[in-house]
Amino acid sequence: MTVASARKHLRLYFKLQLMQLRSTVEYAADFWIGIVGAILMQTTGLVFISALFSQIPQVAGWSVWNIVLLYGLAMVPKGLTELFCDGPWTLRAKVNSGEFDRVLVRPISPALQSASAIVSIHGFGQVMLYLGLSRSDAAIAWWTIPYLAVIILCGAVLIGALNFAINLTGFWEPSAQSALPTMLALMIDFAKFPLDIYNGIIRTAVTEVIPYAFISYFPALVLLDRDSDWQWLGWCTPLATAWTVFATSWLWGKALNRYQGVGH
């Protein structure tokens, strides 16, 4: 891709995103109800954590603020994705109704058209990340801030790519609704708690199958400088992201070739 075409795509993306913003603001009350709902959903997890840790000081050697840090690490990139790349969630409906035809005939990359959407804006994750980091007695080094920036950026790209990947199931499974993508997306909740507590199956699922652990758990090992054999994996987040993006784009090509329309 040349620089010129990259710039063109970027400009188009922001145009599309602006359109999304306009249509969102059209129904202001609805938008705010969505945000309240999203915040309350996150509160559930927090109520649980505060109740759990009022009974015991730590779980598997992790204090309450360590867990808050994990939560923040998982939620900040998730929030960014909700803001910039939640469009894939409409793919299934488009494929099912044949509306995807319209996406294909436009002279813009179908992936670009499918990326933009604005679901929610909230700074919940940022607050938790800050609290978790400052109260965890984490040693702040010169590289902490750049490291965090890279991790969060990679995390957002990784979740964005996964948004695409899990919703491509709609190309193979023609039903109008499916809980499968929701389930795969919800598995990020596993990564909001230390992986040490789970059994092998769940650990494998969130590291090798859907690599959510690279967003929160492994980076947290680095940030907290925990004594763990897996700490080095915290430096592999960019690799995991690159691999996910690569796998998703391969899958995307397969999906597009498979699409047959519904006979309009």
């Binding site: 129904y27 009350a29 609805d30 938008f31 109800i33 969505g34 945000i35 309240v36 709902g37 999203a38 309350l40 959903m41 509160t43 559930t44 109520v47 649980f48 505060s50 109740a51 759990l52 009022s54 009974q55 015991i56 000081p57 730590q58 779980v59 598997a60 039903s175 609704q177 499916s178 809980a179 499968l180 929701t182 389930m183 919800l186 598995m187 909740d189 596993f190 708690f193 040490d196 507590i197 789970y198 059994n199 769940i202």
Partner: protein, 272 residues
């Protein structure tokens, strides 16, 4: 003139429930994946509590055996009213399908509760069944404390289910004012998950939350049945809890019907 022999019509609300039952069977794959979805948090809670009970053998009167039984059954009970049931209640309003229901000589609230009951017969049996199988085989949950506890548990589950259906019905009426059903559903789910005791038993809540949860109608959905099941509430205490649940059920029924009248008076059909 040939006399026509007509089959005796079934009681009306029963036949509504039966139709919903058949629909739920048709969409059984969706029903099943919805259930698997709730298992994510069952696993998270299971493993977290397991780690927690490694540090101390007894937490607020709960042993590890009690706790894993609680976690598994709590999610099974909460899943009795699945995402689809509540989404359908909202959708009838959004799409204008409500007109069809309005022309029938039926109590709309009871109509919707019947639909929920019919669907829950499938989702409920599947989810409770699956929960029990996973619970007994993999997690080793405990049986009810006594045979009497088992009977009272079932009564409490029924009352809790109807209360939950009425809460979901009342809240879906908000769709008359806003089109964002998802945001409302998220909020409702979050509040019910906390106050019913699904996420954490009432006994372990921080003081201020405990005060609210103790008297709220939501405790009848999960906490009350489970306290009876585990034998933590016996005799007069169990009866008092059941009485509270029953009182809330009556109150919710009156409220739901009043709210329905209020909402109906400002009804604005979406392009019907």
């Amino acid at each position: 003139m040939a006399s026509q022999v007509r089959a005796e019509p079934r009681p009306k609300y029963l036949s509504i429930a039966q139709t919903a039952f058949q629909q739920a069977i048709t969409y059984r794959v969706t029903t099943l994946t919805n259930i698997v979805l709730t298992f994510i948090w069952v696993f998270i809670l299971y493993f977290l509590w397991k780690a927690a009970f490694n540090e101390s053998a007894m937490i607020q009167g709960f042993t590890w055996d009690d706790m894993r039984t609680y976690v598994v059954i709590a999610f099974g009970l909460n899943a009795l009213i699945g995402w689809r049931i509540s989404a359908n209640m909202m959708l009838t309003i959004r799409t204008g399908d409500i007109l069809r229901d309005l022309t029938r000589p039926l109590n709309y609230c009871l109509n919707q509760v019947s639909v929920a009951t019919g669907a829950a017969m499938v989702e409920g049996i599947l989810s409770l069944g699956l929960t029990m199988v996973v619970g007994l085989v993999f997690i080793g949950i405990q049986p009810p404390a006594t045979p009497l506890a088992a009977v009272l548990f079932l009564v409490a589950v029924l009352i809790g289910f109807l209360t939950n259906a009425l809460i979901v019905f009342s809240i879906s009426l908000l769709t008359f004012w806003t089109l964002n059903g998802v945001g409302i559903a998220w909020s409702r789910e979050a509040v019910i998950n906390i106050l019913s005791g699904t996420i954490i038993p009432l006994a372990m809540m921080p003081g201020w939350l405990r005060i609210i949860a103790d008297v709220s109608p939501m405790r009848g959905i999960v906490s009350t049945p489970l306290m009876i099941y585990l034998g933590k509430a016996e005799g007069s205490e169990a009866l008092a809890l059941l009485a509270l649940s029953a009182a809330w059920l009556v109150a919710m029924w009156l409220f739901a019907n009043w709210a329905w009248q209020a909402a109906f008076n400002r009804v604005e059909i979406q392009g019907g």
